[in-house]
Amino acid sequence: MNAARRTRDVLEGLSRLFAALVLATAVCYVVGFTAWTTWISFTDSALLPDYTFVGFKHYERLLGSRVFLVAYGNLAIYGVGFIVGAAATGLLLAILIDQKIRAENALRTIYLYPMALSFVVTGTVWAWLLNPDIGIENFVRGLGWDNFRFDWLIDSDLAIYAVVIAALWQASGFAMALLLAGLRSLDADIYKAAQIDGASPARMYLRIMVPAIWPIVVSVLVILLQIAIKTYDLVRALTAGGPGIATTLPTNVVYDYMFQRGEMGAGSAAAVMLLLSLLLVMVPYALFQRLQKRRQQRHD
């Protein structure tokens, strides 16, 4: 009896120790390096860290630079297009697959498969597909529609939407998989009850099923959000930030300043602003959730 308790104590101690180690590493890496980067962003660092304080110099320069404004405009278009688009496409696919169709496993695998590729591969393949000279435009013209045009990739105004298309192709299947799992976890009786009450399928899904799996929907949105904000490789492979600077995202700006221009201070400032932009979305969301929880508790 005593020995069993001792073993349990030892195990518990060990698990705490390991948890503490992991936590310490995480704190060191995430908080420590975030703090260090923030500090560097206020210094005159160029090729190597240099701790001469220069205040908001880099921030002012970045905010006044065109590439920075273009990058954030792009992030807004890309972020909204990607998150809403991937979630909506994923939901549609999930609902369609949920109809007890034949070859469900095969279809599910096909839809999920792009997620197994890296963004670099996606970018390269779509660069070919979307290139007017060798891709879809050329193919459709070859079929006889001589005036068909699909040149988003090389149009400065539309190229960012071409990036969204490639990203949607990559991530929609992932959203589908999570949402489908959610739909399947619901009690089948709900379907029957709704059917008996005469709800149309569309109404049934939008009014009953989706609200029932809302926590999963939120998780999907949050995961897509962080994918959107950290996207770098897709643009690099698909458009190289172009035509011109038309599809540059904030991550590309960070890399450019850090490594190509050799301006560590300005690069860090760009990175910190990226973090702030993430917080701008996450903090209101967290507050909103807290508020909701409190309201719920009051109701209970």
């Binding site: 190597l48 006044g64 040149d151 990739l153 172009g242 035509p243 450019d256 221009r261």
Partner: protein, 422 residues
């Protein structure tokens, strides 16, 4: 192991140590981005020349972009583990030599006839504080024009255009004949380079002031505006579908006569040579149009910086390697393999290992030095530190790919960009 053995081993070790401290064993550790192809082969040949002088050659290529190699160098500097020599170029030599100690090579250089036989503008970049700490390895002429022989035949032309007016009239004829006149890819540095070639061709002097000295008045001047207008004209003759692609993708189509002209540094000759295309038969090669009536040379050069490792073996290796690099044998061997032009202007290029285009570039360099019109390339990080280049590059690449931006607007943006980094 018996005690006896151990003692013998210890003795052997201490003898070995004594030996090295008495006589340095020359050794050279080098990092560069040249790992494969003609570039890798040129480095191997360099290694063989150094080895012949009794130096142990340890080359660690970091393939990929120059920035990848720089990241390795940065890591080496932070770790206090410097290589004896590293490939760097232009203003980067000054920037990097400020963060790590270098070796003063003045005595080795002074003992040679090297300084008298190189471009003073190039030499300057290798002594940022007045002392020689680096040496140039080779030069490429950036202002090189390649024309498709098939495309020229179709418009009945036999020679390259010499001025921008001639170029425009030939390109116009090509466009009428259904040929895309300009075979340009569309990556940011390439867009920057096209502006640089146009401005250098309109007025080398304006290029020196506006781009190399970042002079505000010159940037606001009529030559820069004329350059941007000519660049806008060139963009009308490019294939917009090429945006974001590397220039070399379009070489086969250029040789087939689907494109007319390509402006690219001399390294394109090497690529064409490897593709079994012949100068004179498949393409013509010469300087890009120049309205100044005096020869100009837009330069891209790679160099070797010598780091102070506080190691006598490496120091001995550095001095020998420096001597080798400054010699004519190295100049010939290295440039014949990678298709560049010797740094020394007194090297004879009659050898069959050279292409006509290289000979033309070498002659061009000599004449430009005499005319005081040697220019440093903006697109290839020779004119300005990379931070300044990046700022101008963003303006130029956007201008090339967005035809709604007027030349006047682009000029204002260039002025503003220069203000931000000056």
């Amino acid at each position: 192991m018996t005690r006896h053995h151990r003692r013998a081993l210890l003795l052997a070790c201490s003898l070995g140590l004594a030996h090295t401290s008495l006589h340095a064993e020359p050794r050279l550790t080098v990092i560069s981005q040249w790992s494969a192809g003609a570039e890798g082969a040129a480095m191997d040949a360099f290694g063989n020349l150094v080895k012949k002088e009794g130096v142990t050659w340890q080359h660690s290529p970091v393939s990929g972009f120059t920035t990848d190699m720089m990241n390795k160098l940065r890591a080496d500097i932070i770790a206090g583990h410097l290589p004896a020599a590293a490939q760097l170029k232009g203003p980067d030599i000054k920037a990097w030599s400020a963060i790590a100690p270098t070796v003063n090579m003045n005595d080795v250089v002074a003992a040679s006839d090297f300084p008298q036989n190189v471009s003073p503008d190039l030499a300057k970049l290798h002594k940022p504080q007045g002392n020689w700490i680096a040496l140039p390895l080779h030069i490429y002429r950036v202002n090189t024009l390649y024309a498709s022989k098939k495309a020229l035949d179709r418009i009945g032309a036999t020679a390259l255009p010499r001025t921008w007016d001639e170029f425009n009239s030939m390109a116009g004829k090509m466009a009428e004949a259904g040929i895309t006149p300009v075979a340009h890819g569309g990556i940011a540095w390439g867009d920057t380079m096209y502006f640089e070639l146009v401005l250098a061709g309109i007025s080398p002097n304006a290029y020196q002031r506006a781009i190399m000295q970042l002079d505000d008045q010159a940037l606001r001047g009529p030559e820069v505006l004329a350059g941007l207008r000519q660049l806008r004209q060139l963009t009308q003759w490019m294939n917009p579908s090429n945006a974001g692609q590397h220039w070399s993708v379009f070489l086969p189509a250029l040789m087939r006569g689907e494109y007319g002209f390509l402006m690219m540094g001399g390294w394109a000759s090497g690529v064409l040579k490897r593709g079994k295309f012949q100068e004179g038969k498949d393409f013509l090669c010469g300087p890009t149009p120049n309205d100044s009536q005096r020869p100009a040379f837009d330069m891209n050069a790679d160099s070797l910086v010598f780091w102070d490792t506080r190691n006598p073996d490496l120091l001995a290796g550095q001095k020998i390697a420096a001597k080798v690099v400054m010699g004519k044998e190295f100049a010939r061997t290295f440039t014949q393999i990678n298709g560049s032009v010797p740094v020394r202007t007194d090297v004879d290029l009659a050898d069959a290992g050279y292409q006509d285009c290289q000979r033309d570039a070498a002659r061009n360099l000599k004449e430009a030095i005499a005319a005081n019109q040697v220019l440093m390339s903006l697109g290839h990080n020779m004119a300005q530190p990379s931070g300044v280049t990046g700022e101008l590059r963003d303006v130029l690449t956007e201008f090339v790919h967005n035809k709604r931006i007027t030349a006047e607007q682009a000029q204002q943006r260039l002025v503003k960009a220069a203000d931000a980094v000056r």
